[in-house]
């Protein structure tokens, strides 16, 4: 893995479970990835793949019935899971920040924008209200809100969705965090605003030299913003690679399926090819590879033995039997109309 870059965050074998009425559910099962300093890593997956739970696990903000069962989350070498609640609070918003999907409801209606940005500063930097308000104006300027002196005094309902998301970003970045977790930051916004917000995040990342964890279901967002990508399926990372490799040479059948289900403008397509079937219920996970029931090339081994996340090449990890020595299928397979030669 990227030896030359320092890894600011390392997630190893993270396992998050939820106690539900139907028994214990493993929402995240053995997820590992690294976040290099100053880079953006995308976590992609469909609803219920565990991507949001992964991010909430990092900040230890899981709902009451959820808990991290196993694994470690190393932030600059410290395991976040071992910190006290107080130490964790000092990290939240200060060193690791998060922005949420719904800018319309993520701001408290009874406080002004300035008061809410100030709050982060007052909590962590212990500065006076006046000083915090001054810095809030600077933050609004930083996130590209015009006439910030006027805006700090306004209330959330006076701002549009895009503006509010900018305010959320200002709140998250007020203390100059080293990692920003963006949980579907553009999903609730309309397309033109989406592009602006992504552009803003990318621009701020370069200027402030922070790392970003971009959680999304949108491969378009990944292509635009990320350096590395972890593709998640049913609570596991199935493919991890740099963004170029992922789009040019996707390896996991699920990744391929995802890419094939997107409209493209560089080739003529009669129709989009959906991935058949449904995400397995977390109560009833397949014994073997979790994607096997939907995989067009799954073999006997795929249905019975779960594959491990294996490194192939210098920057790639795949969770698929097809790329292992033990592959028992054909050496040439056709995946979504594409011929591939695999190890055999």
């Amino acid at each position: 893995m990227t030896q030359q870059l320092e890894n600011i965050l390392e997630v190893n074998n993270l396992q998050t479970v939820f106690a539900t009425e139907g028994g214990e559910v493993r929402a995240v099962d053995g997820v590992s990835f690294v976040v290099p300093k100053g880079k953006t890593i995308g976590i992609v997956g469909e609803s219920g793949s565990g991507k949001s739970i992964t991010s909430l696990s990092i900040l230890r903000l899981l709902a009451k019935n959820g808990k991290v069962n196993d694994g470690e989350i190393l932030f600059k070498g410290k395991d976040l899971l071992k910190l006290t609640d107080k130490q964790m609070r000092d990290i939240r918003g200060n060193q690791i920040s998060m922005i949420f999907q719904e800018p319309m409801t993520s701001l408290n209606p009874v406080y002004t924008v300035g008061q809410q940005i100030s709050e982060t500063l007052i909590i962590h930097k212990k500065i006076s209200k006046q000083e915090a308000m001054k810095q809030s104006v600077d933050m609004l300027k930083l996130v590209g809100i015009p006439s910030p002196e006027k805006r700090v005094k306004q209330y959330p309902h006076e701002l549009s969705g895009g503006m509010r998301q900018r305010v959320m970003i200002a709140m998250a970045l007020a203390c100059d965090p080293e990692i920003l977790i963006a949980d579907e930051p553009t999903t609730a916004l309309d397309v033109t605003i989406q592009a602006q917000i992504l552009e803003l995040i990318r621009d701020l990342q370069n200027r402030l030299d922070m790392s970003v964890i971009m959680i999304t279901h949108d491969l378009g967002v990944v292509a635009e913003t990320c350096d590395y990508v972890a593709v998640m399926y049913a609570g596991q990372v199935v493919e991890y690679s740099d963004v170029r490799t992922l789009f040019k040479n996707p390896k996991h059948p699920y990744t391929l399926g995802l890419l094939n289900s997107l409209p493209r403008h560089d080739v003529d397509q009669e129709k989009l090819i959906p991935i058949k079937g449904m995400v397995p219920s977390p109560h009833d996970m397949p014994v073997g590879c979790r994607f096997a029931p939907r995989c067009p090339v799954a073999t006997q081994a795929c249905h019975t033995k779960p594959p491990m996340l294996e490194s192939i090449g210098n920057n790639e990890q795949i969770r698929c039997w097809m790329y292992s020595e033990e592959w028992d299928g054909d050496s040439e397979v056709t995946l979504y109309g594409e011929k591939r030669t695999v190890k055999g």
Partner: protein, 296 residues
């Protein structure tokens, strides 16, 4: 929606709290009964505060020659069995009544809000245990609970205030817990948590300001109940002790003379009715004006 947002963003609006207050007062003023209730409360408060200074007479001054006089020019509300002027006593009693009403609701409100918000925010065992305790308190008929507390603490005005306060706790706790459960789920609570806010900060700076309306309404309504309960206790001889001009105590004293000097019970009784009614009607109006959706 978007049109509205645009308009708001373009025009420099004043503080939305001021705006909200304007729409609230407009709605409240439209409700004639609530306005009357509010004016009566205002009048009673002024009387309670200023009255004793204007009258400058002693409410306990006895004049046995003039006892049990019917209302007249000198004694507007008549005199009692000791020849004390009932009008003066009622004016002085206003202060006692308001003191009991406001202080007990203040005590009960503070405890109830803290209990409700903590139960609603933390949930789980804390919620179950505190709410079951509240259920136990609620299971007693109101006056019986206050009676029990006063008989343990002993009869005095302060103890009545404490008793009525305790008896108001569950009503506040339940309402606050319900509202907290709603607000807790909102995304901005998650957002401030992700920014490193502590539980205390979230509870008092982010949840409490958002659930003030039901608390205000509840407090107004509870004042009426508190006054009624305190008068009831005094009537039973457990509240303010004679010769304090407490309305309930006056009712009790007049009880024996009801047949030949009905004015002795009529005026204090009427005052209790008027004040309780005023707080109830005003509370109803407040509720409708603060949150029209709460109106059934």
């Amino acid at each position: 929606m978007s049109v509205q947002t645009e308009k708001v963003t373009n025009a420099t609006r004043s503080n939305p709290r001021v705006e909200a207050f304007k729409t609230f007062s407009k709605r409240l003023l439209k409700n004639k009964a609530a306005v009357v209730g509010g004016l009566v409360i205002l009048f009673i408060i002024i009387v309670g505060l200023v009255g004793p200074f204007i009258l400058k007479t002693d409410p306990n001054a006895q004049n046995l020659v003039n006892k049990l006089q019917p209302p007249s020019k000198e004694h507007w509300f008549g005199t009692d069995n000791f020849g004390r002027d009932i009008f003066t006593r009622i004016i002085f009693g206003t202060q006692l009544t308001l003191k009991v009403g406001f202080l007990s609701v203040f005590i009960g409100g503070i405890i109830g809000v803290v209990v409700g918000i903590v139960a609603g925010y933390y949930g789980g065992m804390i919620d179950t245990i505190t709410m079951r305790i509240m259920d136990i308190l609620l299971a007693f008929p109101g006056i019986l609970l206050a009676l029990a507390i006063v008989s343990v603490l002993g009869g005095s005005l302060i103890n009545v205030i404490i008793a009525v306060g305790i008896f108001s706790v569950p009503a506040f706790a339940r309402i606050v817990r319900g509202s907290t459960l709603q607000v807790r789920k909102l995304e901005y609570i998650d957002a401030v948590k992700a920014l490193g806010a502590s539980d205390g900060r979230i509870i008092f700076l982010h949840i409490l300001p958002n659930i003030m309306s039901p608390i205000i309404v509840q407090a107004t309504m509870r004042i009426a109940t508190a006054i009624l309960t305190a008068s009831g206790l005094a009537f039973l001889g457990l509240g303010a002790q004679p010769p304090a001009p407490e309305w309930g105590a006056m009712l009790n004293e007049g009880r024996t003379y009801m047949h030949n000097a009905s004015h002795m019970v009529m005026f204090p009784g009427m005052m209790i009715i008027i004040v309780v009614l005023a707080f109830n009607i005003f509370g109803d109006g407040l509720r409708d004006a603060l949150d029209p959706k709460m109106k059934q």
